[in-house]
Amino acid sequence: MPLYSLDPEWEDVVPLPQDDGVQPLAQIAYTEEYTEAMSYLRAVMAKDEMSERVLKVTEDVIEMNPAHYTVWLYRAKTLFALGKDLVEEKNFLNDMALRHQKNYQIWHHRQLIMDRIDDSTGETEFTVTMFEKDCKNYHVWSYRQWLVRRFDLWDKGEIEYIDTLLEQDVRNNSAWNHRFFVVFGREETVPKDIVDREIRVCEDAIFIAPQNLSPWSYVRGVLKKANLPLSTFEKTASFYAPLDNPDKIRSSHALDILADIYAEKGEQKERALIALDFLAKKYDPIRANYWNYRAGLIKASS
């Protein structure tokens, strides 16, 4: 069903066909609608036309193929050239984003638009709607970090939102990662009370689920940022992995951090080797080669 060739608005345009070459590989069976819309779009792009009808045809193509980066980039250029109402564009994007979860172009486009609008009203709320569908969506988290930085939203409810997400799922590593960004992402020293709070958050999370890697990695990151030794966490780790009472070991990650703590303390290398041996033989044997490599490093250094 031709839409463009019969439309008087397009009668001045000679559609530009696609050249796929002779006997091309991986040729796609397009619908007539797609072939036609693309032919008209190529024609106006060739003239570098930026007009209302360009917006119409780009919207049409994007609806059929939202991963078409060329069309998105050309649309952005046209929107800016025409000085269009970008808030309206945002509504179009909301709809697209909710229907297409894994898409680089939608989020890059949104970033270009929002940078021009220069007002973040409603944006974090929209990312929350996205996270309700997939709370680990990489593009959306990346966008949210851009928002925080661009609009200085560091103290506008980020930590509170992360707390909510971690309450829903303490294993949501994307939320942990965002937490690290919010707490340590600014170019300033983090005060001691905040560092203490973060260590406490990890302890609480580990208490709920000791075999959850996220808080164990997070606390290592916190200690490193705060220039504190790993042994700061020795007591907690020992609680979840008492080496002298192996039946009570409840976390392979506790064994992992203990091995590092003991290896750092010269006189307790034997205990580090015991922890690594537990990991290789019983608690995480798929990674035996790695645990044995760590043990080898300790032996070589003594």
């Binding site: 680089y104 990662n177 490599y293």
Partner: protein
């Protein structure tokens, strides 16, 4: 066939009682994998080579109409990718793609090149770094002199790579280069480590000059992508560590210099190795892309592929010694780390959980196959079957120490062509934990035929791929020979 060991058939020893959406997904995946992994009749099924070949050929040739089905319009901006995935997968399975597809690859890629430099995802589309990367790799895979028995005659004198306009391509690369050290994926497009990896692959393979600051700040940019977890985000400043971006960043760094020097100077290697190791799960045996996310067959390449690079960084450059009377070389086994991951675990996951019934490979049980997964699952399986190591540069021998004088007149180090990527070697043997002893990675099989379609080949064995470029290993030598004859552009 012995049953699979309990490691792959029983749920982990430690298991928290607290249930969340993540643990529910993880438990469901582990249980469904265990069903496949412990299937008593066939605990380690053979690679269904013929079915996978047929699946990938359908990606190149389409269905009965000669085209790919309508719904694949979603990949209309990724056509060079489809060609690359299918060619690369077929080559790994032992198909002589150069003989079969050389002229059609050239014909398909040629209309994607833009006069302003680079390649688009389709004819008339703007140039894009990932489209340029996959288009060039597709050409690389079929590069070299025309094989005997091909029916094309008109462009026999032309190497497939000759269609690339290196001068406009270089200008394009400069136009997407940013002051931060990153490369955008397109003009006005987003900038992330994919852009950097694609740029470095192109620069290295085509030996483009890096003068005028083409790589200024790039190494530091890659270093800033490492996160507190040890892996890499898509860009610096807070993105979550992710397997795909980790491969891009590490492979890119390994093109900038000798792996040990570059990786240990730029990164926290210890945390990286820890994060990488934590990507492998039991009982699945497969690899995940992020902490507390599920295994996915495609990470067999993205995460699995990081191991060779990281191991080379831990070992430093190796000297080579003869392996046997045939004169094959292998690295000296002096205190090298061997394999830090479970090759068996990954091979089991791929063969039991990733093979779709009617051909093609997939993310995990319950998912359908596609060309992307088929390519990267096969490359990952190939990675489990080969040992990669990095050799000492011949010019870097102690006798040829550069004097201070000659150093001062030498060109700036960062302006020299990138050559480190060409010092990788592959061996069918792997250093054992016993010093000086080498073990075959897989049971010895007869030599490869030119084309498995003609004679067939038994077993799961796949051809080796280059650890940085993900193309058949020997293709890289062919490109080097081609580029060596170029004077200027």
């Amino acid at each position: 066939m012995p049953l699979a060991p309990p490691l792959f058939t029983t749920l982990p020893f430690l298991h928290d009682a607290h249930v969340t959406p993540s643990s529910r997904d993880q438990d469901a995946t582990a249980s469904s994998c265990v069903r496949f992994l412990s299937y008593p009749e066939d605990p380690f099924p053979v690679l269904d080579r013929a079915a996978h070949i047929a699946f990938l050929e359908s990606g190149l040739n389409g269905d009965k109409t000669g085209k790919l089905p309508e719904y694949m319009v979603a990949l209309d901006a990724s056509r060079p990718w489809i060609i690359y995935w299918c060619l690369c997968g077929l080559a790994s399975l032992g198909i002589d793609v150069r003989r079969r597809y050389r002229s059609r690859v050239v014909a398909s890629i040629r209309p994607l090149q833009n006069s302003t430099g680079g390649f688009g995802g389709g004819n008339g589309q703007l140039s894009h770094m990932t489209a340029t990367y996959s288009a060039i790799l597709a050409l690389v895979i079929v590069s070299g002199p025309p094989p005997d028995g091909t029916d094309n005659s008109e462009d026999d004198d032309e190497d497939p790579l000759d269609i690339i306009n290196r001068l406009t391509l270089l200008r394009y690369l400069h136009s997407v280069k940013m002051d931060t050290g990153a490369f955008r994926v397109a003009l006005s497009g987003e900038a992330d480590v994919r852009g950097v990896y694609c740029a470095l692959t192109i620069i290295t393979l085509l030996r483009l000059p890096t003068t005028n600051g083409l790589l200024a700040g790039t190494r530091e940019y890659l270093g800033r992508c490492q996160t507190y977890e040890g892996g890499f985000g898509a860009m610096p400043g807070g993105n979550e560590a992710h397997g795909g971006y980790a491969f891009c960043a590490l492979a890119a760094l390994c093109m900038l210099g000798e792996p040990r020097e570059v990786l240990s100077d730029t990164l926290d290697l210890k945390t990286l190795v820890s994060w990488l190791s934590a990507r492998q799960y039991a009982p699945e045996g497969g690899l995940s892309g992020r902490t507390n996310k599920l295994v996915d067959g495609c990470y067999s390449t993205w995460v699995g592929g990081c191991w060779a690079l990281v191991e080379a960084a831990l070992n430093g450059p190796q000297k080579e010694v003869p392996l046997g009377p045939a004169g094959e070389l292998r690295p000296e086994n002096k205190g090298v780390v061997g394999s830090l991951w479970s090759r068996e675990g990954l091979a089991r996951y791929i063969l039991t959980c990733c093979q779709a019934m009617r051909g093609g490979l997939r993310d995990k049980p319950g998912k359908g196959p596609d060309f992307y997964h088929t390519c990267y699952v096969l490359l990952g399986l190939s990675g489990t079957q080969h040992y990669f190591y990095y050799v000492t540069h011949p010019a870097a021998a102690p006798s040829s120490v550069t004097s201070a004088d000659s150093f001062s007149t030498a060109p700036e180090a960062e302006d020299l062509p990138l050559t480190s990527a060409f010092l990788w070697r592959v061996s069918p043997s792997i250093p054992s934990v016993v010093k000086g002893v080498f073990e075959p990675v897989v049971e010895d099989l007869p030599a490869w035929p030119d084309d498995v379609a003609d004679v067939g080949v038994e077993g799961d064995r796949l051809r080796a791929q280059h650890p940085l470029f993900n193309v058949p290993f020997e293709c890289v030598d062919v490109v080097q020979a081609w580029v060596g004859e170029k004077v200027g552009f």
